[in-house]
């Protein structure tokens, strides 16, 4: 479970860097996503990437409920375990 959460966390970091709003190394998994330039549009993009990567339909509210990379990785890992 922990390994999976860690893997999701790394993947999320990679995605956030790929969106080009922040440089890798300039943030931690506990930095609020809002501070990483992830507005509501990027939240939806992230949801799309999550759908593609994990074959799991998610609402943007998952980002509202889990506003950091660490929390989001935890939330996703729970959803995946439940799916």
């Amino acid at each position: 479970m922990n390994t999976q959460t860690d893997a999701i966390e790394s993947w999320l970091v990679e995605r956030v860097v790929a969106y080009g709003k922040v440089d890798s190394g300039s943030f931690t998994p506990d930095t609020p996503l809002a501070e990483l330039g992830l507005d509501s549009v990027y939240a939806l993009t992230l949801c799309g990437d999550i759908e593609d990567e994990f074959d799991l339909d998610v609402d943007p509210t998952i980002v509202w409920d889990h506003p950091t990379i660490r929390e989001l990785a935890g939330g996703l890992s729970e959803r995946l375990a439940a799916a």
Partner: protein, 583 residues
């Protein structure tokens, strides 16, 4: 808990179907307390019709917004729309001012309120009370997440400080649902919904007396609210603290579906007036409707109206049948339907000519209708805000579109039975399918179109346009999907709404009990041609055969005093009874 309504004398309205408002209001063309002439006078004086409001009070209008499980009479939203259309046929500002804002406020409670709050609001509405929607701040418009009016909690109470602007019924409503900032953090979890019942406390903590005057919807009592540490009990918190945006965006899907479907009735009335005017008014040795230009204007307006009617009717049914898909569907309806209807009204204003701008009796009400409808694309999820809902969801829509193999025929069965709305199934996601796009190719739809007919070929081309749109969406990047999106990205969202409307029209035409007009091959093709014209960005004139057929349809309905909207079921729609007239 749900028997709360039975204590009220008006709970009797829940038993059986209430009277038809068309009958209670009387013929709007005839002189009377709620005829067009009086409505125009009341509008000029910026007042609500006292006669009409007392009829609505007696009719128990508030019970329509209360789910049957809470003691009201709302089961099928389609039926609700049918019951309220007679109001919008006569006076949209009465519809908005008497009721729709109260519905919008109550929806938030149905979505997120606890049992006690739902029972209390149900009781208040059945009693005839109003609730105002205290969300809007002029500085932020539809950008709700930046609203500033704030509340802080101390000792079991919220204290609200700030202003809300252009709020319908702010002064006369018994309650106001306030969206208040409860955290300084940016983002979507920083606002909370608070129900302020004025009987708890008013002055000196709140001033709601300043009225705002508007060009359209003049009779509405719009005004501002100024809160100066207004105390609201913690028990008035609707939903979790911080959940305002989520609750409102969920709840407003219902009103985004209902409002366009009601606006249909206003344009229905305007078309009726235009046909009467065009057949009466002498010009150049004939009547207006002898002139090809006037005929083309009227026919184009009718085609737009039929498309708008199909989309709005199907989206209302989708609230019940495809709730998870409704974020995109209701935004599409709230964007495209007012767009089509205001375009139709502009065309009709040209047809009316001087009778329009000089407000010549008995057609003076048309000018008011045009002003009133101009508000619909602005108010409550403006057109641009609705496109902004769709825009970032385009990639999600595409994924769902590509995996959707079939549509749901029940969506298109206008008037088919619907169970009470399950608010818990509405979401802020894109759902799991694209039922309207799929309708363009679904065999259950296509088998009702003669192979190789003009309409069938149009559906083929529209299906290809849907694929092409998908490829264009595929090429978009996230930076092109936000509020700063380039016009080309907005155009893709616009095109999607037109293609969803085409699916709705195709589906309605193919419905098992399809209204007779939608079985007419020329009318089917005319509407699809209109959509293709709009997709091309330049609307070509309709083929003369389409023009003649559409006008014959309208003239026939006006002569028989039947509503034009195929979705309207106030008159029996037996195919054999109408067959002769549509041939």
């Amino acid at each position: 808990m749900t028997t709360v309504g039975s204590s009220s004398p008006r709970a009797r309205t829940t038993a059986g179907e209430p009277d038809d408002l068309d009958a209670l209001f009387g013929d709007p063309m005839a002189p009377g307390p709620f005829g067009y002439a009086t409505i125009a006078d009341d509008d000029q004086a910026r007042r609500m019709s006292a006669a009409a409001e007392s009829i609505l009070e007696e009719w128990g209008a508030g019970a329509d917004f209360v789910p049957a499980s809470l003691g009201g009479r709302w089961v099928s939203t389609e039926d609700l729309v049918q019951r309220w259309r007679p109001i919008f046929r006569r006076d949209p500002s009465l519809g908005l001012g008497y009721g729709i804002t109260t519905l919008m406020a109550a929806l938030n409670v149905w979505v997120a309120g606890d049992d006690e709050q739902r029972a209390d609001v149900a009781d208040r509405l059945v009693r005839g009370e109003r609730i105002a929607v205290g969300f809007h701040e002029l500085d932020h418009g539809n950008d709700l997440l930046h609203n500033e009016c704030a509340a802080t909690e101390r000792g079991g109470r919220w204290y609200v400080r700030g202003q809300k602007h252009v709020i319908n019924n702010v002064d006369r409503a018994e309650s106001i649902l306030i969206m208040a900032r409860t955290s300084d953090e940016p983002g979507a979890r920083s606002h909370t919904l608070l129900m302020w019942n004025k009987d708890d406390v008013t002055r000196p903590f709140a001033d709601t007396s300043r009225r705002v005057l508007t060009a359209g919807m003049r009779g509405c009592r719009l005004g501002d609210a100024v809160f100066d540490d207004l105390p609201v009990p913690a028990s008035g918190t609707i939903g979790a603290p911080g959940a305002a945006a989520q609750v409102a965006l969920t709840a407003f899907q219902v009103s985004r579906a209902v409002v366009p479907a009601l606006a249909i009735a206003t344009v229905d009335a305007a078309l009726d007036l235009a046909v009467r005017f065009g057949s009466e008014r002498s010009l150049y040795g004939g009547v207006v409707l002898d002139l090809p230009h006037a005929r083309a204007l009227l026919a184009g307006a009718i085609a737009d109206f039929l498309i708008a009617d199909a989309l709005s009717a199907v989206v209302v049914r989708a609230l019940h049948l495809a709730p998870a898909e409704c974020l995109i569907l209701t935004a599409a309806a709230k964007y495209l339907v007012p767009h089509l209807l205001t375009s139709a009204m502009q065309d009709l204003s040209v047809l009316f000519g001087s009778t329009f701008y000089a407000r010549v009796a008995p057609y003076e009400i048309f000018e008011k209708f045009l002003r009133d409808l101009a508000i619909v694309p602005i108010g409550h999820g403006g057109s641009t805000a609705c496109l902004l809902t769709i825009l970032p969801n385009l990639p999600a829509w595409l994924r769902r579109s590509r995996r959707t193999q079939a549509t749901d025929p029940a969506l298109f069965q206008l008037g088919g039975p619907l169970e009470e709305l399950d608010f818990g199934r509405l979401s802020l996601g894109a759902g799991s399918s694209d039922p309207l796009g799929a309708a363009l190719r679904d065999p259950t739809v296509r088998e009702r179109f003669a192979p190789d007919s003009g309409a069938a070929n149009a559906l083929d081309r529209l299906g290809e346009a849907l694929d092409e749109l998908g490829e264009q969406i595929d090429a978009l990047t996230a930076s092109e999907l936000g509020t700063d999106a380039p016009p080309a990205a907005f155009a893709l969202a616009h095109r999607l709404t037109l293609l969803l409307a085409a699916g709705a029209w195709g589906g309605v035409c193919a419905g098992p009990d399809a209204p007779s007009i939608t079985r007419d091959p020329l009318v089917r093709e005319a509407c699809l041609a209109r959509i293709e014209g709009r997709l091309s960005g330049r609307i070509p004139p309709l083929d003369p055969a389409f023009v003649d057929r559409l006008i014959a349809f309208a003239e026939d309905h006006v002569a028989r005093d039947i509503r034009l909207a195929p979705s309207t079921r106030t008159h029996p729609r037996h195919p054999e009874a109408e067959e002769g007239s549509t041939a």
